[in-house]
Symmetry: C2
């Protein structure tokens, strides 16, 4: 779902998900924020619009969306799951300094040597870590203390 013109309600129905108010708002946020937000990021943001929102609903909804394969849960961060509305195969680079998570294109098919013959593959996760270009130059990057917790 990259096309902004698509109707979110229809989109959910097409994937067998009843389009409740909360679900639409959460999906809307995800599509508008492809920076791999955490559950709390999503909760905090959507709660501003839906004041009665429960974090449990966010968890429920994300699980539902993930099962319907319209989003993907990422393990790029140590402690928490981050979510990605881009379900196409791509790699994730996590900067140790600024904690930013960058997408990167990757030719996953070249990976599939004969090593996994006989295995039925469902998901392919490519996670790199290191220092991003911005943090490489900017030695005095102070975001790390705040965010890396």
């Amino acid at each position: 779902m990259t096309d902004k013109s698509i109707n979110l309600t229809e989109y959910l129905i097409e994937h067998g998900i009843r389009p409740s108010f909360q679900r639409i708002k959460i999906l809307q946020y995800l599509i508008g924020n492809k920076d791999h937000p955490t559950v709390d990021d999503i909760y905090q943001a959507v709660a501003k619009e839906v004041s009665t929102l429960s974090k449990t609903t966010v968890y429920n909804t994300l699980t539902l969306f993930t099962q319907a394969s319209i989003i993907k849960g990422l393990r790029a961060s140590e402690n928490e799951i981050r979510y990605d509305p881009d379900t196409a195969d791509h790699g994730h680079f996590k900067c140790k300094k600024c904690s930013g998570i960058y997408d990167f294109a990757v030719n996953i098919d070249t990976l599939q040597s004969d090593a996994l013959a006989g295995f039925q593959i469902h998901e392919k996760g490519i996670y790199f870590t290191g220092i991003c270009p911005a943090c490489m130059e900017n030695k005095t990057n102070s975001k790390s203390e705040e965010e890396t917790k």
Copy 2:
């Protein structure tokens, strides 16, 4: 760290780690069990030999070993970290049925397209999930209920 004949004490010293009794026992267990054990696996096993062992010591030691790059922490499992004494680049396949984690060779260099030019890469994690060959045939695999929590 594949050669069994190597002296564990010397090995730790070479990597700047003081070879305490607990550390040697934990390293010994890791080298002898390359099935990617959890912290609790390691604790339960080593505690049989070192009855006074504290789980905190296991955590401390694993962090120390990881920082010294003699082992690697894996995020193949959802909730818990698993540890691998094989620090060479290789992929991990997690079977959703039996929860087993399989190593697989992967040509990681072919991945590095120009997408990450300018990024300083420290770690490369390749995590696949799906069904392993054994579980594909054996439809009535009951391990899943026990182990998958």
